[in-house]
Symmetry: C2
Subunit: 424 residues, 2 copies
């Protein structure tokens, strides 16, 4: 009997997982390889970092999601290379053969060549990052409560967020909510409302990928809840307890105990490994250039999707590294693989932009949905609906909704645990 | 104006937190000192270790619990000593004065003088322990799935729990549920139902502090769900991947990749520090002997309660280290402190035993409530009710109930994240 077509998918993020799901009725043998045992709903990581949700609320075990999909198996392992001539994905102590390969390994945070900054300004990328940032934020208030020197109290109560994209904006908004509302009445020596939350952005407006109108609305919302927004600044140095940046023609330093990085990402190193094996080169962000059918040039059996791919939009610009792109690409490659098995070909991948959105603290958001530009509470409801509907496990959806309803009504956040190593 | 009476309470566990709450209407100034920023509902830690609940579900931030209690402040700090002549609790870089001191620092896991065993057989005591054990358990199944050598697969699928008290029994039951039901259909190479779960107990029956009848019922329940119960064994060595124990007159070794310790606890080291300062000595488990009013001999202003106290029952035996004892003692010392301020005295502390209970996997428990001896589903409902009602934050109660209802109906466990350092 003929062996079924072997599909190997590297990465259980939005792109990889949707590719696996879209192949559920195809006569193929799927192996999904991921370093982690769960799919993470990254758009809500900032809620974990600010104590609104638990990690398990925004993560779904991959095996659980795929338990009924009999043509798929999950392998928790780290990919360390590709053998394209023998058609194998290399693990540390084994290798997995493929007929079609989909690489969806995503991106990692990037400090523009200053890897040492990460120590002082952790980035919000994985679950461990989120709980570590949560620990830092909550510890800052604890330390301020114990401090008597007003200068040091101010340092503990100063929070700098570097990068005004959606993650930075959402984190700043949630942090302001924590300082002004959640922690109200919880301290006796300090008033958490004295916190300074400073959002730094290099371009001339926050949310630079959004229409200008929404950027201004987001800025106004943030300033309303006491976030200081500084645009057109470029960070030149990050020290243990200070950020230095250039703005116009002078240099400024802010003294802060808590600094969070949300300024840049770059493609997973697997992109370079794959490109080298295929004899092509990656772009400046480490992404693999792909053809209109999302395959690697000269390798029709290898697809790259999501943040790892440099895929040009119909308009000629590269597609942004956001979940909807990855999801649509995952579904597209699943259709390509099925069509080929039936001897058919598909038209090139086309991205349909249904819109993007970002929240700004409690009950406020900005959104563009097709021609619509929304802001305020309506946008927040739209944001809530879209995000809840996109979460993979039904159970999580229900629990998150309840947790949020509770948080919203009581101003509380229950997942405020300081865990891991603490320093006194 | 006269300064209010200063009460310092060390430890925000069951004893300490209930003492603070019971003083909410007293004309005193309370400082609650804890190393952690949350109260932990330890009886449900085994649910975190087996992926049924998230840490935040069983923890309540101390500041949030006490935010409306204006006479109490929370200090997150590590106590490193006591200055009894100056009436001060010593922190690393500060000290806190008291008029009345309540020490409720609890217990820690104890390896009977073999501290090196902890590396191979972690104990289930704190939140970090629970997520570390969860990681080990879940990684064992992942590694077994990747393994081809049947001997090694068996090692990965062998789980040994040392200690047959309530924690060991509950953990063994939950682990059996995970292996037999939750993970069913999730693996393609192994069958998690092939797991061997072995519970080792030194005495001649598990749950030795319960009536014999309930011990036998618990054993029968556990064997029903494929847990191997070995009693009368004494562990003599724990190596990286094996447990050696003596049973009768011979020695046996079980080869297992996952070993969990639930065999012993001893009092917090603060007990010894306090005793030395007070010129008395601790008992063999490191507990501080207390008078019938729970004060330290010769120090009427210092109370010791909960696991840290060696308090004799009306019958002459020391009270066990369980939550109901600590709670009743916390409330009692609050009443003593208030009475003294009014120039009154109270009769000695009397422990009222309302009963104890333990669950054994899905929908089964054993309980003794007064003269009643329950087992099976009824006992489980009683267990559920008592535990839910005792959880401090209302929100947690609701979310846990929903999470359990969902887990119970779907056999699922959502909090199955492998986080922290993973080894491939």
């Amino acid at each position: 009997m003929e062996q079924p077509h072997k599909v190997v998918i590297v990465g259980g993020g939005f792109g990889g997982l949707h590719a696996v799901r879209a192949l559920r009725r195809a006569p193929v043998d799927i192996t999904l390889i991921d370093r982690r045992n769960f799919h993470l709903f990254q758009p809500l990581l900032y809620q974990v970092a600010t104590g609104g949700l638990s990690p398990a609320n925004i993560a779904a075990p991959l095996r659980s999601v795929l338990k009924r999909q009999k043509n798929a198996r999950v392998l928790m392992a780290e990919v360390c290379g590709f053998d394209l001539s023998d058609r194998r994905v290399l693990l540390k102590d084994a290798s997995v053969p493929y007929d079609s390969l989909v690489v969806a390994a995503g991106s990692e945070s990037f400090f523009f060549g200053h890897a040492d900054w990460e120590r002082w300004a952790p980035a919000l990328k994985g679950v461990e990052d989120a709980t570590a940032i949560r620990r830092r934020i909550l510890m800052a208030f604890e330390m301020a409560e114990r401090e008597t020197d007003p200068q040091k109290i101010l340092q503990w109560l100063t929070f700098v967020i570097v990068g005004g994209g959606p993650t930075g904006v959402e984190l700043a908004g949630a942090l302001a909510e924590v300082a002004c509302f959640t922690l109200r009445n919880e301290f006796r020596s300090i008033d958490p409302r004295d916190s300074r939350i400073i959002l730094l952005e290099g371009q001339d407006r926050i949310l630079p990928s959004y229409p200008a109108e929404l950027s201004w609305k987001a800025k106004a919302h943030l300033e309303n809840i006491c976030v200081t927004v500084r645009t057109g600044v470029s960070v030149t140095d990050i020290q243990p307890e200070a950020v230095t940046f250039r703005v116009g023609d002078h240099t400024e330093t802010i003294s802060a105990k808590t600094i969070v990085w949300s300024a840049g990402v770059r493609a997973s190193p697997l992109g370079r490994l794959l490109s080298e094996a295929a004899g092509i080169s990656v772009d400046r962000q480490g992404r693999v250039p792909v053809l209109p059918d999302l395959t690697v040039p000269g390798r029709p059996d290898i697809f790259v999707i999501g943040d790892l791919a440099c895929c040009l939009h119909q308009t000629g610009a590269p597609l942004p590294g956001i979940a909807p792109v990855a999801i649509q690409q995952g579904r597209y490659v699943a259709r390509v693989i099925q069509s080929r098995l039936q001897g058919e070909t598909l038209p090139p991948f086309r991205y349909r932009d249904y819109g993007t959105m970002a929240t700004i603290g409690r009950g406020r958001a900005v959104a563009m949905i097709g021609p619509l530009r929304l802001s305020g509470f309506v946008a927040w409801l739209a944001w809530l609906f879209v995000h809840l509907m996109s979460i993979v496990a039904f159970e999580n959806r229900l629990l998150i909704l309840l947790q949020w309803a509770w948080n919203y009504c009581t101003w509380n956040r229950a997942a405020r645990l300081i865990t891991g190593e603490t320093v006194f």
